[in-house]
């Protein structure tokens, strides 16, 4: 009852005309971000933080935060729609979660069924978005009620679990992911300590007293890093874009896709809730599942509509599911949700169990706006898909310098400091070299965002126990989180070792 009441209030917020515009702009830019090669959802969201903060400048603080997060979340799930377009038409995924869509989407386009593939992707994304939002509405209240009962020690362990979950699944090497996590946590300690007021690691540089600005680091690592990669590695050769003939799918296509869409939505949703797995893994899993239960597995890879419907539904459901740990526990499970969390913190809004109590307008307004945004995306992506397809042809020679200029503008607009611009460029170069050598960047950003909270909970817990570390293993809930965290890191390691042995055995 109360949930429905809150949801109704949320719709009242989301249906305000300026929030409708924010949602529309968000999903529109999100779709464009998904379509344009070279900008993924993370850098898209990071780049838009400064733009939204200037757009919402005239609103009251809570309204500004609501509108901003509505727009930024729109970019996030909008990119999931757009990512399929390049996969299907160009044989190159617009972002990593659409990698699997290439397998069947491009063959479909070559057979002249590009329109059907795009339409099914849009419909699947829509259904998945609604399914995951339903789950979010149902789980939000109970989860945040449980989270409210956690002690500082429990919360510390939960955050450690979140960090381990993301590190355990990010990239090829767990060691590298853990290094990035710890490095991010260390960077978060720079600046004046909030508890004692002493400055740490500032080396007398006045710009460092406030700490490293999250926005500068995120835009540098993701947006500039990706741009530098394109400049260095893209030789300018462009693939051939398939033509779209008819947009509406046939009845047979629709009939074939119902099952995959529903299964993909469920797989994606549950995969999304688990921190660290994210949209990319969800789409892989959904594709493999469809192939396994299909009566004609040989059709996959040659233009099976099921191979488009399932992964596209899954990646959208996962992006909705990933909002659950972010909003209810304050633990972002993916790089993009970590950036969203950083944006909320910039507005002095702390995601987590208290969000639903203290700022119901933001939490429920966001949820309601995601329903509306998904409807907008369906409308945008069905009739207008041809317009978006044109975006693919945006020449990189104009796009790349403009992304750099937008990054500089965004950071300067928020920080008004040349020091931050220099830090931004340095982060871009570092981000490029790190990601080129398989050092995942998402754990670093997550560490940077979670760092102050982890430290705060650690110190509160240790103060109550008089500096005794055993508090973390004596409390059952905290112990449980820590055990899961250790398992999360070690099980993949053990499996890798076994997997390697199997490969060695085969070779011998």
């Amino acid at each position: 009852m109360s949930t429905l009441h809150y949801l109704a209030d949320g719709f009242a917020v989301a249906l305000q005309w300026h929030n409708l515009i924010f949602a529309f702009v968000g999903v529109l830019i999100g779709t464009a971000v998904g379509v344009l090669p070279g900008i993924g959802p993370i850098s898209g969201v990071a780049l838009l933080i400064p733009v939204t903060s200037s757009l919402t400048g005239g609103l009251a603080p809570e309204e500004a935060a609501t509108s901003a997060i509505i727009l930024l979340a729109g970019v996030y799930y909008g990119a999931m729609y757009g990512g399929s377009t390049t996969s299907i038409l160009l044989n190159t995924p617009g972002e990593s979660s659409s990698v699997v869509t290439v397998l069947d989407g491009y063959p479909m386009a070559k057979q002249g069924r590009a329109g059907a593939a795009l339409a099914i992707a849009a419909i699947g994304s829509f259904v998945a978005g609604i399914v995951s939002l339903g789950g979010l509405v149902l789980l939000a209240e109970p989860l945040s009620d449980i989270a409210l009962k956690l002690s500082p020690a429990d919360e510390f362990s939960l955050m450690v679990l979140g960090l381990c979950a993301l590190s355990g699944l990010a990239g090829k090497s767990v060691t590298k992911a853990l290094i990035m996590t710890v490095f991010g946590l260390l960077l978060a300690t720079i600046g004046v300590d909030a508890v004692s007021g002493v400055d740490r690691f500032t080396f007398g540089v006045p710009q460092l007293y406030g700490g490293l600005e999250f926005l500068t680091i995120a835009v540098g690592l993701f947006a500039l890093g990706e741009v530098f990669k394109t400049i260095l590695e893209n030789d300018g050769s462009e693939g051939e874009i398939a033509k779209i003939t008819r947009v509406l799918p046939t009845k047979q296509d629709l009939k074939d896709s119902v099952g995959p869409i529903i299964r993909g939505s469920l797989v994606g949703f549950f995969k999304g809730i688990v921190p660290g797995s994210g949209a990319t893994l969800a789409s892989f899993l959904a594709y493999l599942l469809e192939k396994k239960i299909s009566k004609h597995p040989e059709k996959f890879g040659k233009g099976a509509i099921e191979g488009v419907a399932a992964p596209e539904s899954a990646n959208n459901a996962a992006s909705g599911g990933a909002m659950i740990p972010l909003l209810t526990l304050g633990i972002p499970g993916t790089g993009t949700t970590a950036v969203l969390m950083g944006a909320l913190i910039m507005y002095n809004v702390q995601p987590g169990p208290l969000l639903f109590d203290e700022h119901p307008m933001i939490a429920w307004g966001l949820i309601a706006s995601m329903f509306i945004g998904n409807v907008m995306l369906l409308i945008l992506n069905m009739p207008l898909v041809k317009v978006f397809a044109k975006l693919i042809e945006t020449p990189a020679k104009y796009l790349i310098p403009m992304i750099i200029a937008i990054s500089i503008f965004g950071v300067y607009a928020v920080r008004v400091s040349i020091f931050d611009l220099m830090l931004l460029i340095a982060c871009g170069v570092i981000g490029y070299f790190l990601s080129r050598n398989d050092y995942p960047l998402a754990p670093l950003v997550l560490g940077l965002v979670l760092g102050p909270m982890i430290e705060n909970n650690l110190r509160r817990a240790l103060t109550t126990s008089n500096g005794d570390f055993s508090i973390f293993v004596e409390r059952p809930v905290s112990l449980l989180f820590l055990v899961i965290a250790v398992l999360w890191i070690t099980i993949p390691l053990v499996m890798k070792m076994k997997g390697k042995k199997v490969i060695v055995n085969e070779e011998a």
Binding site: G57, T175, G197, G236, P401, A405, I418, R459
Partner: protein, 152 residues
């Protein structure tokens, strides 16, 4: 190449870890007598980072020959754009947003392979002028305006 990068990176990360450990010993201890001062968390993390770096160092020795990505890198293009970006950021407040952005975009478009001066110039002008007008005149934000020696 990958192998060597990992080796250097492990040394650098270990040094960063050491820096944080050493520096956290210099942090003034907490005033209110708690045993958990502001230096404990970074020191613990620094030690953790050193340990992880050592592990990475050994992993990089075990790894058999790095796989070289064969695509040739466009170093010249990258360095020119990087230099242009640094100059643009460094002199942004001196030459103002519109002029700086216009010049940067013009250079950027040309380096990235745009043939026509006219088209590049027009897009650069529209972008720099448009952003400045939208942000400063409509949204009332602050960006460095035109330099004073120009006269307006």
């Amino acid at each position: 190449m990958n192998k060597y990068f990992d080796r250097y990176a492990s040394v650098i990360f270990a040094l960063i870890g050491m820096l944080f450990v050493v520096e956290s010993r210099n942090i003034a201890t907490s005033a209110y007598g708690s045993q958990v001062g502001p230096n404990m968390f970074p020191m613990g993390l620094g030690i953790l980072l050193i340990l992880l770096s050592i592990r990475l160092f050994f992993e990089s020795w075990k790894a058999s020959g790095g796989e070289n990505k064969s695509a040739p890198l466009q170093h010249k293009r990258f360095l020119v754009i990087l230099a242009a970006t640094c100059l643009y950021a460094y002199f942004l407040e001196d030459i103002g947003y519109v002029i700086g952005t216009f010049l940067f975009l013009l250079v950027g478009f040309r380096v990235m392979g745009a043939e026509s001066w006219w088209k590049s110039g027009l897009i650069a002008l529209l972008f720099s002028g448009g952003v400045y007008y939208l942000y400063v005149d409509i949204l009332q934000g602050t960006l460095p305006g035109f330099p004073s020696w120009i006269g307006f």
